[in-house]
Symmetry: C2
Subunit: 457 residues, 2 copies
């Protein structure tokens, strides 16, 4: 059960990005009386990390646009004691205390009545030579974004290499291409966007190639090397080849930041992230966890899963903030819904891919259909591919992937709703979806896919 | 129960637009053996009636683009005996026969084993002087569209008047403005788009005014008058005023075409459309009805309703076609989902408005929120207004209306899915919706509305 927050008690939140500031804000709204402290190791709170590629490309030019509310706003308007540059070093759940350090100052301690861990995730750092070279970047925080942008501003970057073709890798490949670089994209696996089925990610690969991205798959990066005597990156050595690179962006995945929780004896789950119940409470009753450091129940498999996304972080934060101060609300689970723009493509997914269904030991079948984003006769109608994954016996919808020039991201939400409702493909095929020639064919592509799926049952 | 179709039996379908051709095609797919005859009184089958305003504006320039498949295609590829210009005149359910007349030819009779009525709807003709004047048009069939287009091609139309501000009226006001006319829009009711709540249709009214449409509400049209001696329309007399008009488009609603059914003793429902069960079977076991002439069960109210739309017509047709030849499938009901483009606005709706909830004796509450179509920092983010209507006691979602420059039509489908699933606002607020800065704020506007609604329960 969540903790009971006494009158004038203290809530401490570790981490001040999406989940942390959502938790603090929610707690404040419910409890004007308590003290709320946020310990954020970085220099900014509440920024839109998902917008960083657009900040680097220049599509979003103003740094201030990434920050919805700054620390001063939270201090002034919400009476949240935001401490920037404050790194939590230790949690003592029994003593209800958290130790932290500001810059190089001495370790201090804060007692708490409830603690929310919103420590996030951090990029996987490749354990290879040259990872420390200037010009090799990861992209996680606003500071990271500033560093890349500064680097691009200081020198000509003719050749850039992106390591890892997940959605951040693809967005960064685009951003660097927009900045005028010739971009090489290296991926360890046989496909880009590995949460998608290969027949769908193939459409994305074609778009990358059409836009001049040099893509090497099944390629392992072995080292980063300086060029000549310059103390910065000049080459990427990968699968026996050398790629010239003025800048390297490593987006080889993220891992949950769980050291603090782990050292405090708080249980981690099978996924490596912090195990929480539906109320975001960890194995320690006064400690809650939210955002990219925590697991979530999956609405399709029912299992605990770890899918770090900003949407989930915000929801987690709100629930943790409420329950930390005496509330009792439950998280509805994740469907793994995601969307990304890859040059002129919209790419979106919800639920399980065929491969993910297999991993969950669900006997799945799928259909893939091609339709259009608008009525075929309406100008601007663009091809739209929909893949629908469903359980072979029951017909239960398991997931969808949609790729096209427009109309993918929000169409996938209809299938996400179907997943939350536990619908079958027959039920999905019945949904009364909107139609007007500028927005859809009379049979929405999702309905066409569901109808096709029905024939395979 | 649906009829049993004997070997080499005959299915007759009356009406060859959306519902009729869907029924015929579905029947053919299931039963290669039977004879299928379609009697269509017009000159075309299977055209996209919803695209007619875009054909008139010239956005869709090629008439052929409106016709997915022509009569010859159905004859040749699907062995469907399509008879154009064939007007059904009488149905004898006991004798299982339908009489029809081709042009001025003699009445002929066809026996049938099953009959599908897909007679559609027809525009309300105002019972006022001058309705017959050249230059006064309705817009229902492709022939109507051709007539308007021909009229516009033959003469300068400086001033056009549209009577009725439903979605066809708005689309035609836009089409005529695109063709260069000064457009006056006359509406009997106090708002445009009367299925929307007034606070949402007000956004649409502002768009109309901003685009130069002259809008007169609460205005009753009394007569159409010729100008001088010319035998065509010159003025519209309405609520005591005279509006000069070179062309008048009357879009004052449609009524189901039920004369044939009615004369045959087939029951009509409370709405005036043909009463059918979930299998599209009428009160006569060998007669089915589909499309704009038939009622549908509403997924929110559970009541029979009449909402004539192309999407429903296609679904009805498919079900009627299957059941007419021995199948046993059921229609999932309608949510009244609709979308329309009004100049640069996307306008979409599903389920009940506040007023419609009142008419259904449901105690409803609502929230209206303003958000953006994309992340606030991403270029092109446009205001998006979401109104969510829900049952006050249970929190059950009743409907939504969404208006904005982009992102309305397919977002409303997520709420449509919630209506089919019978979700509460709490459940809607839990849906894992997609997020990426180019496509949505991190809290999708629909989620924001659902969260706000939760606070009012």
């Amino acid at each position: 059960m969540p903790p009971v927050m006494k009158q004038d008690g203290r809530l401490v939140v570790v981490g001040g990005v999406a989940a942390g500031m959502s938790a603090a804000s929610r707690a404040r709204r419910l409890r004007p009386d308590i003290e709320i402290v946020v310990l954020e190791q970085g220099n900014d709170v509440s920024y839109g990390a998902c917008s960083l590629p657009y900040y680097i490309s220049g599509v979003i030019s103003d740094r201030g646009d990434l920050i919805r509310y700054d620390a001063e706003f939270f201090r002034r308007e919400r009476r949240i004691d935001v401490r920037l540059g404050a790194r939590a070093t230790r949690v003592d759940p029994r003593g209800r205390a958290v130790a932290f350090r500001s810059a190089d100052g001495p370790e201090k301690t804060l007692d708490y009545d409830a603690l929310v861990l919103a420590t996030g995730a951090r990029p996987v750092r490749l354990p290879i030579p040259g990872s420390d070279l200037p010009g090799v970047f990861a992209l996680r925080t606003l500071d990271d974004g500033d560093a890349v942008r500064r680097f691009l501003g200081d020198r000509a970057v003719e050749r850039a290499t992106v390591v890892g073709a997940g959605y951040i890798g693809l967005e960064m490949a685009e951003a660097l291409a927009v900045r005028g670089a010739s971009v090489t994209l290296l991926e360890l696996l046989p496909t880009v966007l590995s949460t998608y089925d290969p027949d769908m990610s193939a459409i994305v690969e074609r778009e990358l190639l059409d836009r001049g991205i040099i893509l090497h798959k099944e390629t392992r990066v072995d080292a980063f090397e300086p060029r000549d005597e310059e103390p910065r990156v000049g080459y990427v050595v990968a699968s026996g080849r050398r790629f010239a690179a003025d800048l390297v962006l490593v987006s080889a995945g993220v891992r949950p930041a769980t050291e603090l929780a782990s050292a405090a004896g708080i249980e981690l789950g099978r996924t490596g992230a912090i195990r929480v119940d539906r109320r975001q409470v960890t194995s320690e009753p006064t400690v809650l966890a939210a955002g990219d450091c925590a697991e979530s129940p999956h609405v399709v498999t029912g299992r605990s899963t770890w899918i770090p996304l900003g949407t989930t972080a915000n929801k987690h934060g709100r629930i943790a903030g409420e329950n930390a101060v005496g509330g009792n609300v439950r998280f509805g689970g994740v469907a793994g819904t995601n969307a990304t723009k890859v040059f002129e493509l919209e790419v979106a997914q919800t639920g399980l891919s065929t491969a993910a269904a297999g991993e969950a030991a669900i006997f799945a079948d799928s259909v893939k259909i091609s339709s259009t984003s608008r009525s075929h006769s309406y100008p601007g109608a663009a091809p739209l591919a929909v893949k629908l994954v469903f359980e072979k016996q029951s017909g239960r919808v398991l997931g969808a992937q949609i790729v096209g020039r427009e109309g993918a991201a929000k169409r996938v939400d209809t299938v996400a709703a179907a997943l939350h409702a536990g619908m079958t493909v027959a039920e999905l095929a019945e949904i009364d979806m909107s139609y007007a020639p500028p927005f859809s064919p009379v049979w929405d592509p999702v309905l066409i896919a569901a109808s096709q799926a029905l024939k395979k049952l």
